[in-house]
Symmetry: C2
Subunit: 299 residues, 2 copies
Amino acid sequence: MIIGIDLGGTHLRAAAYARGQTVHEVRELVGEPRDPETIIARIAKLVTDFAGPDERVSVGVGIAAMLRDRRGTVANSPHLRWRDVAFGERLAAALGPRVQLGVYNDVNAITWGEVSAGAARGCRDVLGVYIGTGIGAGLVVDGRLVEGATNTAGELGHTKVRWDDAAEPCACGQRGCLEAYLGGSYLERRLAPRWAFASDVDRAAAEGDAKALALWTELSMLFAIALANAVALLNPERVVLGGGVLSRCPLLYELIATALYVAAPRASAEQLSLVEAELGDDAGLIGSARLAEAGVSIL
Amino acid sequence: MIIGIDLGGTHLRAAAYARGQTVHEVRELVGEPRDPETIIARIAKLVTDFAGPDERVSVGVGIAAMLRDRRGTVANSPHLRWRDVAFGERLAAALGPRVQLGVYNDVNAITWGEVSAGAARGCRDVLGVYIGTGIGAGLVVDGRLVEGATNTAGELGHTKVRWDDAAEPCACGQRGCLEAYLGGSYLERRLAPRWAFASDVDRAAAEGDAKALALWTELSMLFAIALANAVALLNPERVVLGGGVLSRCPLLYELIATALYVAAPRASAEQLSLVEAELGDDAGLIGSARLAEAGVSIL
């Protein structure tokens, strides 16, 4: 049995897999209190509920947090209100030696899910990109997850797409980050007061509304440039795009896809396929379970 | 014994290493004729001269060419005037089964040289960037060379740094590529008629010349943004900068270094060291020999 845990700001989800089937699944609100001790005890209980108290089991945890290392040390998680928490070490102690534990950045887990069982099955060089509140990327190179020297690889949301005086400020403290244009809260501000949702802009642009079209042209170009530059550097065979915005905005997706193939170097674009994510919310669960099973960054 | 070959547009160089020492070294003009058959025969003779006719030996060839795959198929080499040449396969046939042969992109070989024996010795996550006629990068992730799905990883020179109407055209057919601003021939055009060499601009800028300073500010910013975005994506522990221009332009180097640390995400910049390449022309020889010895992309 392998177990995947998805610890987000709102939900704590867990799934157990055996012989390729989902054998248990749980979805709870994180709720309060959400201090590390409480959360660790809840995860330990879920593992025992699924696997019993003694069975040897691989457990992967995907967490919406900035991790400082490959031992699950949370530098900062605004959602959980955690700072400098030795989450991985403490969880490993709570689970005991019968558990093979790995703690992963959530976007890395999601990307690995799509690579191992979703839209990039069978691919060895993959870039997974997710637009949500933030924008993140997961990198797989020659069949292996790229975590980076200090575990912060994949920060596509903080690549700079503007550096003139009018570049938008980003919550990270810098300016001109891709996320400051296409991240959830920034995007909402660009829509208001005319549109409530990105899908409204998408429809208006498709019907020829000039303002909607201008906004989509600007944003799709910035996104496509960041993506094309990542493709130039990494030469993946497949790019997986995920997150709610893109799935609800078919025109935006098309504009991005078109601009990507124009902006990427020809030799890298020729063999490249751009696809939508397949596994939705399950990607992170499957991905973190599979990463732990494969022995990636085990504590 | 291991042997490294550096096949450039002007020189054919070869070196043999044993127990960490250089035991043979040859440098010849490529000259004419430079058809594949002639060049292959010359390389085969060098290998026999160095290692005798029977000894088992690893031979790595770094080549200034666009390779289509990991079997040394040259898609295009303007310098050698080769197109669609099965160079690797033909060289392997000429060398026979006693040779463990690998053929590598020259920038990859150079980067591996700096990682195995130069400015990034002991590092596992490295970005090597070289400014010359073109601009290329070599990527090492978790101690392994990244070649990409179709062997074109590291095309930093063709990441886009401008996409407005005035973006400079690049020889690759696209516009706004980093290379179209800082690659050798483009840079020369920006210098003329006022300056002959990049080092002249560097001196003038250091002395306060406004035009020189403006040019260096513009170009260092474009280079630093491309570099910072690569750092955001890959989270290397070390960036190695090489190529003649930077070593002769200390102010340009300083401007790039300063802007890089400003533009890179804080978490990725904290642990990052930026250093100059150490091995000069030898990097490619050592790197290709070591790659072949390590069994990377062997034919």
